[in-house]
C-alpha cells in the first residue's frame, strides 16, 4: 500500500477518535449520561473502518476506544482498572462489537469493489462480443469472395468479377476503419495515453474531413457552416477527424429517410461547438441512453446488421471527446431527425 494512503488513514483514525473522546468528555462532565459513552465509541470505530482501507485501523480504533472508556469514563475515573469484573466484561463486549462492525464494513467494501469490477467486465465482454460479430461479417465477404475468385475464376463473367471485387474492397475498407476505431478506444480507455493537443485550424479540419467523407460517400452532400473568422481549436486533429467522420457515417447508415445532413461549427472564446444534424428517422428512445457507452446490444438488430458497427463508432467518439476534456451529447429533434453535438475547450495554445 502507498505511504500516503497509510498516513491519510492514520490521520483519519486519530481525528475520529479524538472527536469521540471530546464529545464523551463533554457529555460526562455536563449530563452524566455515561451510558451513551460506549455507544459513541462504537460509532467512532465503525466510522474509522468505513473511512479507511483494511481491517487494521478499525481494530486499532476499537482497542483504543476500549482503553479510553476504561480509563476516562468508568469508575475509577482517569485510571485503568480491569479488576472490577463488570469493567472487564464491558471492555470485552465493546471490543467484540467494534471488531465485528469494522470487519463487516470492510467486507462490504470489498464486495462493492468486486461488483463494480464484474460490471466493467460485463460491458467489456459485451463489447468484445459485438466486435467479433462485426469483424466476422466483412471477413466472411472478403474470405469467401477471394477464394471464390481463385477457385472459379473462369466461371464468372467480367461483370460478376467486378461485383465480387468491389464487395471485397468495400468490406476491407470498412474493416480498416473499424480497426482504427478500436485502436483509438483501447489506447484511450487505458488512460495511459495522453492526448497531444495541437492548435488546429477549423477550416483545415473541415476540409480534411469532407475530402475523406466525400470519397467514401460521394452521393451524400454535407452542408457545412464554419465560423467567419479565423478559428484555431486545440485538439488531436486526427482523433477529432475520426469523431466527426464517425458521427456523419452514423447518420448515413442509421438516419433512415435522411435528405439533409448539416455540419456546423460555433466558436466562442471558451468553447468550440461542433454540431451535426440530420433530418432522418431519429434515434429510438431506448438507444439514446446507451448510445455512447458501446454496450449497445446487437441481438435485436438481427444477424445481418452488417454495417451496425455495434455502436463502437459512437463509443469511440465519446472516449475521444472525454479524453479531450470535452462534452458530447445526442438528441432527437422535434420535427424529426437527430442532432449530435460535441464541444472542446479553447485554451491558449501559443503560450
Amino acid at each position: 500500500m502507498k505511504k500516503t494512503t497509510i498516513i491519510r488513514d492514520i490521520k483519519i483514525t486519530a481525528v475520529i477518535l479524538a472527536v469521540c473522546f471530546v464529545i464523551c468528555l463533554v457529555l460526562h462532565k455536563s449530563t452524566k449520561a455515561d451510558t451513551l459513552i460506549p455507544a459513541i465509541f462504537v460509532l467512532g470505530s465503525f466510522l474509522v473502518s468505513s473511512a479507511t482501507n483494511g481491517y487494521i485501523y478499525g481494530i486499532i480504533a476499537a482497542f483504543v476506544s476500549m482503553l479510553a472508556v476504561n480509563y476516562a469514563f468508568t469508575f475509577p475515573f482517569f485510571k485503568f482498572s480491569f479488576t472490577a469484573s463488570e469493567n472487564l466484561i464491558s471492555a470485552i463486549i465493546m471490543i467484540a462489537i467494534s471488531v465485528m462492525t469494522s470487519t463487516l464494513t470492510t467486507k462490504l467494501k470489498v464486495q462493492e469493489a468486486v461488483r463494480a469490477e464484474n460490471e466493467k467486465e460485463k460491458t467489456r465482454s459485451n463489447l468484445l462480443r459485438a466486435i467479433s460479430h462485426d469483424l466476422r461479417t466483412p471477413l466472411t465477404t472478403i474470405y469467401g469472395s477471394s477464394s471464390a475468385l481463385i477457385e472459379n475464376k473462369d466461371n464468372f463473367t467480367e461483370e460478376q468479377k467486378e461485383q465480387i471485387l468491389k464487395g471485397i474492397s468495400q468490406d476491407a475498407q470498412w474493416l480498416s476503419r473499424m480497426v482504427e476505431n478500436l485502436l483509438s478506444i483501447t489506447k484511450l480507455d487505458n488512460g495511459n495515453m495522453k492526448i497531444t493537443k495541437v492548435p488546429t485550424v477549423v477550416d483545415e479540419l473541415v476540409d480534411s474531413v469532407l475530402i475523406k467523407f466525400n470519397n467514401r460517400y460521394p452521393d451524400c452532400n454535407v452542408i457545412v457552416e464554419t465560423p467567419e473568422e479565423f478559428a484555431v481549436v486545440p485538439m488531436d486533429p486526427l482523433l477529432i477527424e475520426q469523431v466527426i467522420i464517425n458521427i456523419l457515417e452514423n447518420a448515413v447508415h442509421h438516419a433512415k429517410g435522411m435528405t439533409k445532413l448539416s455540419f456546423k461549427i460555433f466558436v466562442s472564446p471558451q468553447k468550440a461547438v461542433f454540431q451535426i444534424k440530420d433530418n432522418g428517422c431519429g434515434i429510438p428512445d431506448k438507444k439514446l441512453k446507451t448510445l455512447f457507452t458501446g454496450s449497445c446490444d446487437t441481438s435485436d438488430e438481427g444477424a445481418d446488421s452488417k454495417r451496425s458497427n455495434a455502436g463502437i463508432g459512437l463509443s469511440v467518439c465519446s472516449t475521444i471527446i472525454k479524453a479531450h476534456g470535452g462534452d458530447i451529447e445526442a438528441q432527437n429533434l422535434k420535427h424529426g431527425g437527430a442532432v449530435f453535438r460535441f464541444s472542446l475547450n479553447m485554451e491558449d495554445m501559443y503560450e
Binding site: S169, A172, Q173, S176, E180, L183, K187, V198, P199, T200, V201, D203, E204, L205, V206, D207, S208, V209, L210, I211, F213, N214, V222, V224, T226, F230, V232, D236, P237, L238, E241, Y350, E351
Partner: protein, 234 residues
C-alpha cells in the same frame, strides 16, 4: 533499351510487397523488391532506383535509418509507408527527407497517384539539382517566379510577400508534404512559439484569396497535424 522508371520497394511483408510490385509493374514501372534493410542497401547501390517506397518497420533495422543513409548521398524521391497512428514517425520521416507518406492500409489508386506525383517532382527538380524553372503550372494555377506573380485562370491573385513565399516554396516541391517546421524554417528562418500560428493565419489568407472550397480538390492540401502539400495531380 529499357527506359522504365525503376522503383525499389522495401517492405518485409510478403503479401504487401507482392501487391505493390505487381501494381507498379501493371502501371508500367519496373519494380525491384527488397525485404530487409540489408537487401535495400545492396539494391539501392547496384540499381540506382528512380524512386523508393519504404516501409518503416523492417526486421533487421528501422527503415528511418535507411532513409537517412540514402538521403546523405542522393535526392531520389522516397515514399514512406506508415500506420495511421504513428504521427510522430511520419513527421520525423518527412523531416529527415522523405518526400511523401502513404498510410496503411492504402488503395491501389492512391499509391500509384503518389508515385506518379513524386516522380514528377523529381523531374521538376532533377537529381541533385535545385529548382531551375521559371514557371509553375498546375490546373488553373500558375506562378511566375521571375516577376513573383500568381494567377488563377489568368486572374492575378494579390498576395503579400510572406504569402507569396509560402506558395512559391510549396510549388517548388509539388506533391511533397512539407512539414510545418520545414516551411517555417524556409520562410522565417527561425521558429518561435508563435510561428505555427503565423503560418496558419497566412495559409488561411491564401485559401481565401484562392477561393478554396472545403472538401473540394484545392491547390493546397492540408495534411492535418503534419503540414501542407501543393497538389500536382492533373
Amino acid at each position: 533499351m529499357n527506359n522504365k522508371y525503376k522503383i525499389l520497394v522495401v517492405e518485409d511483408e510478403e503479401n504487401i510487397n507482392n501487391l505493390i510490385t505487381t501494381l507498379l509493374d501493371a502501371n508500367g514501372y519496373q519494380a525491384l523488391s527488397a525485404k530487409s534493410c540489408a537487401d535495400a542497401r545492396i539494391m539501392n547501390s547496384s540499381y540506382k532506383p528512380d524512386l523508393v517506397i519504404l516501409d518503416l518497420g523492417l526486421p533487421d533495422a528501422d527503415g528511418g535509418i535507411f532513409l537517412k543513409e540514402v538521403r546523405k548521398g542522393s535526392r531520389v524521391p522516397i515514399i514512406v509507408l506508415s500506420a495511421r497512428s504513428d504521427e510522430k514517425d511520419k513527421v520525423e520521416a518527412l523531416d529527415s527527407g522523405a518526400n511523401d507518406y502513404v498510410t496503411k492500409p492504402f488503395g491501389a489508386a492512391e499509391l500509384v497517384a503518389r508515385v506518379r506525383s513524386a516522380l514528377r517532382t523529381s523531374i521538376y527538380t532533377g537529381d541533385n539539382a535545385g529548382y531551375s524553372g521559371e514557371r509553375f503550372e498546375t490546373g488553373d494555377l500558375s506562378i511566375d517566379y521571375d516577376s513573383r506573380h500568381v494567377f488563377i485562370e489568368k486572374n492575378e491573385i494579390n498576395l503579400t510577400q510572406t504569402e507569396y513565399n509560402i506558395i512559391a516554396f510549396l510549388s517548388k516541391h509539388p506533391g511533397k508534404v512539407l512539414t510545418y517546421a520545414a516551411i517555417i524554417k524556409e520562410i522565417w528562418g527561425y521558429s518561435d512559439l508563435g510561428s505555427i500560428k503565423k503560418l496558419q493565419v497566412n495559409m488561411a489568407n491564401i485559401r481565401k484569396k484562392f477561393g478554396a472550397i472545403p472538401g473540394e480538390k484545392n491547390y493546397i492540401i492540408n495534411e492535418l497535424g503534419v503540414g501542407y502539400r501543393m497538389n500536382n495531380d492533373e
